[in-house]
Amino acid sequence: MKARYFAWVRERIGLGEEEIAPPASVTTVAELVVWLKRRGENYAAAFADERAVRAALDRRHVKPEQPIASAKEIAFFPPMTGG
């Protein structure tokens, strides 16, 4: 699946997007965050305060307990500040 990062999540990870292939044991958004944090200090820094990071699955807002299922795209970002 494609992962996309925005704003300071993007800056801390150092990437705007990447292909990721989590193992089958990773079934929810929260579990994916745990898995990403193990990939390096940059990921650990981005998700240090998990409550500060929001997620969207196939471009819809989701909660951490949401199953990833067959989603094609997941995005992580801080609370939005548009408008």
Binding site: F6, A7, R59, R60, A75, F77, P78, M80, T81, G82
Partner: protein, 157 residues
């Protein structure tokens, strides 16, 4: 209902956009517009850099515009949101809602703004005049409170 939703990098002319939305219409009694501008914070800011998740932003704004049209009897609806570099004084966002009577136009415009603020994937970073790196603008708690009132609001009123 006439509906326009647009994301763009370039500045827009709010007056011309609103004029084109309502040109020749004789059934619109009430038009409410909201324009959000980049402030200079008493000269401290050189501007803003607005990051966007474009595919999701379009989908979210369309969804919120659809919901507004479901809740209130609207004649026309316009949402334009910029991203990229914005200078102080320039417009960032324009929302316009037209209806037969004013209550629907006011409510729809405020509803759209409250959702844009809290649900549309845009992030503002400041650019400073003193050469120091800017900061990501923090989300305001008032915005989360503001959007909650629509969750208990009735439908068409």
């Amino acid at each position: 209902m006439h509906k326009i939703v647009r994301l763009q990098k370039t500045a827009f002319d709010a007056a011309a956009e609103v004029a084109s939305l309502t040109a020749g219409r004789k059934d619109i009694g009430a038009l409410v517009t909201f324009t959000g501008h980049c402030r200079d914070e008493a000269g401290a800011l050189a501007g803003l850099e607005i990051e966007v998740y474009p595919e999701m932003a379009e989908a979210e704004i369309e969804r919120v515009a659809y919901e507004a049209a479901r809740r209130w009897p609207l004649e026309a609806l316009l949402v334009i949101h910029r991203h990229g570099e914005i200078r102080p004084g320039e417009p960032i966002v324009l929302v316009a809602a037209a209806a037969e009577h004013r209550a629907a136009a006011f409510a729809a415009a405020e509803f759209l703004m409250d959702y844009l603020k809290t649900a549309a994937p845009f992030w503002k970073k400041t650019r400073r005049n003193d050469g120091h790196p800017g900061d990501w603008v923090a989300a305001r708690e008032e915005d989360d409170v503001a959007v909650q009132k629509w969750q208990t609001a009735p439908g068409k009123s």
